[in-house]
């Protein structure tokens, strides 16, 4: 009778490797999430949270038009950022994956990582100099008789901020995904008379679908939850959901109402993420 290796099969061995991630998830995700859900039912009296189980905060937030206005605005803005970012990133990623040497690709990815070494807030504030009416962009447009255009404190400003945050990451994810596409399939498509654009759309994009979708999902998640860009480049006009969270805590210390907004955001993000994962893997699963 063959004996199984006790080191590989024992529960203790498996648990040892699994425990860090389980403990991490409980300490930093499940625990705080449970606390936030519980907090959404608490009340605030004299600037102090009082433990309770009341639906007042949910009724209050869901009953306000401004909450739904903020929700739709934030959702629309994050969707627009995702589409724009994916479309802008794709040509760059395509070039890095197929048109340059492996060495150049490595350097390009390193350069794309560098922005993450600096503070996002500082990068956002630097846009003030560039986008202001007396800034660099308007000065350049002025030479050809255009402008000045108002770019700060607008939706455009917010989108610029979102792209500052997400574009490098999306290009990296897309590049890694495109670089893994089997070149022989591309050659086969060409040999069978498939044009360049058709090869991209019907061969390369479907093969890199998972990476492309994951890049888009990351872009949506980061944009949907970002406070800095809509506040500092969008002028909080109108406020997005993260700004609404700050507004609730700033005046009256309404952390329970802020929790309602946060939970709504999380449910939305979970729904989007799971739908995207399903879309990414569905076809592959059926074949």
């Amino acid at each position: 009778m063959a004996q199984s290796d006790p080191n590989k099969t024992s529960i203790a061995y498996r648990m040892t490797w699994r425990m860090p991630i389980i403990v991490w998830q409980f300490l930093f995700f499940i625990g705080p999430l449970a606390l936030m859900v519980a907090m959404s039912f608490f009340l605030v009296k004299n600037y102090r949270m009082v433990e309770a189980f009341e639906m007042k905060n949910w009724a209050k937030m869901f009953g306000r038009d401004y909450f739904w206005d903020s929700y739709l605005y934030t959702f629309g803005l994050a969707t627009a950022a995702t589409l724009i970012c994916t479309l802008i990133a794709f040509p760059a990623s395509f070039a890095l994956a197929f048109k340059v040497s492996a060495n150049v690709r490595r350097w390009a990815i390193f350069l794309l990582i560098i922005p993450f070494f600096t503070s996002y807030l500082v990068r956002t504030f630097s846009w003030y100099v560039i986008l202001a009416e007396s800034g660099v962009v308007n000065a350049m447009l002025g030479y050809v008789g255009l402008g000045p255009y108002t770019m700060l404190n607008t939706m455009f400003g917010t989108l610029v901020g979102y792209l500052t945050l997400t574009l490098p990451l999306v290009i990296i994810l897309q590049t890694i995904s495109l670089a893994q596409v089997d070149r022989s399939l591309i050659e086969a498509a060409h040999n069978l008379g498939c044009g360049r654009m058709r090869t991209v759309l019907t061969v390369i994009v479907p093969l890199a679908k998972v990476g492309l979708i994951i890049g888009a999902v990351f872009c949506f998640i980061l944009s949907f939850g970002d406070f800095v860009a809509p506040y500092y480049l969008g002028g909080s006009k109108p406020p997005t959901l993260p700004i609404l969270i700050i507004d609730q805590t700033k005046s009256g210390q309404q952390w329970p109402r802020a929790a309602v907004v946060a939970i709504t955001m999380m449910v939305t993000l979970f729904t989007i993420a799971f739908a995207a994962i399903y879309a990414a893997y569905a076809k592959r699963g059926r074949t």
Binding site: R48, F125, A132, E133, Y231, G235, K237, P239
Partner: protein, 378 residues
């Protein structure tokens, strides 16, 4: 010779190592004692009050070290105290309208009025500031104040136009009017514009509806809602040409830097922000905090407050004003803190053009905040 000394330092002998170690060990108790004598004062305040330009000299003279915790807004301050055990904060700088709530919640100590020179105050109101006294007992001492009104870019709005809040609706500044992102000062100003005068915080239903209506009519003019940094930047780079909800506490810093901006109290009246010091309940350093409050009321302390790097405030004592005129005439004149100047802040208070910032009387802060969120989304 120099080479020998260098070699001795780089390669000490065993005897030298033992000598230095012994000397260090013997010196340690004295070093520790010197450190132990430095008293830490935990301060809760708006940004800037615990910085070296304000507390540096006092720290040096009294061998204390301030550990500031900064907040933004009275609600935030109350929440920070509520979430901390008694005695956490030794000295609390509060907006005057929140002192009453600090006292009601038992967060501050009673003060001895005889410890402070109220006779030197520039205005009688400052000696008995609303909410600072309860049942004849003193709980807080006012140390500085400032006025909120029309803040504007002088290239876009004339000094004459700035004499009324109506300049916010001027066609030329469409999408260029900014708001400091706090409902209280902005809605207070709209209430003044509606002619509510001294009753600006005490609005019945009709008055409150009218304030909301007027505020919403300003929405097409609004270019953004900003915190301190955003307000500062947008005025500096000309993105915003007028600002509702602020005053010289922001434009003063920019003006001194050469920006073409200024603040005035318009004909409808202005709002006064008032900052006061309290001793935190259960503080073990109450005597030192008392000394610090006395220092801030001294001529030297008042000048430091008037020149504060983060945001300037007006002097509240006669001796403080005299000292400011003596050491920084330019700043005194810029802010009207010279007897006889038409924009003298004390004259404006005496003329009844200034109304102390307060909280809504007939609505809750929550009502005002809710409307503010609606307004931002309109």
């Amino acid at each position: 010779m120099a080479k020998e000394i260098k070699n001795s330092l780089l390669k000490p002998s065993r005897r030298e190592v033992l000598k230095y170690a012994g000397a260090s060990a013997l010196a340690m108790p004295f070093v520790n004692r010197a450190w132990a004598q430095t008293t830490e004062i935990n301060m809760l305040a708006w940004y800037g009050h615990g910085e070296p330009d304000i507390v540096g000299e006092f720290e040096e003279a009294n061998n204390v070290k301030f550990k500031p915790k900064y907040y933004a807004g009275g609600d935030n301050m109350l929440a920070l105290i509520a979430q901390s055990p008694p005695g956490t904060y030794d000295v609390i700088l509060s907006d005057a309208e929140f002192v009453q709530q600090l006292n009601a919640a038992g967060y501050i100590e009673e003060l001895n009025a005889a410890d402070y020179n109220f006779d030197d105050m520039l205005h009688e109101d400052f000696t008995k500031f609303p909410g600072h006294w309860a049942d004849g007992k003193l709980h807080s001492v006012m140390v500085r104040f400032g006025h909120l009104g029309v803040s504007y870019n002088k290239n876009a709005i004339t000094a004459e136009e700035a004499q009324s809040y109506s300049c916010f609706w001027k066609e030329d500044v469409k999408s260029k009017v900014g708001h400091f992102d706090w409902h209280l000062p902005s809605l207070g100003m709209i209430s003044l514009y509606n002619g509510n005068g001294a009753g600006l915080w005490d609005l019945d239903d009709a008055g409150w509806d009218k304030v909301q209506e007027t505020t919403l009519s300003l929405r097409p003019q609004v270019g953004g809602y900003f915190d301190y940094g955003g307000t500062f930047n947008s005025l500096k780079n000309g993105e915003m040409l007028a600002m509702c909800g602020i005053g010289d506490w922001i434009t003063g810093v920019l003006e001194k830097d050469g920006a073409p901006v200024g603040s005035v109290v318009p004909k409808e009246g202005g709002i006064q922000w008032t900052e006061s010091y309290c001793i935190g309940k259960g503080s073990e350093k109450a005597d030192m905090v008392k000394k610090f409050i006395q220092y801030m009321l001294s001529p030297e302390g008042q000048v430091k407050s008037a020149q504060m790097a983060a945001y300037p405030g007006f002097c509240i004592t006669k001796a403080g004003r005299a000292k400011l005129n003596e050491v920084d005439k330019k700043e005194a004149e810029r802010t009207g803190q010279v007897d006889g100047m038409p924009n003298d802040p004390i004259t404006l208070v005496k003329e009844g053009r200034i109304h102390y910032r307060d909280i809504p009387k007939q609505q809750s802060l929550e009502d005002w905040n809710d409307f503010w969120s609606e307004y931002k989304n309109a």
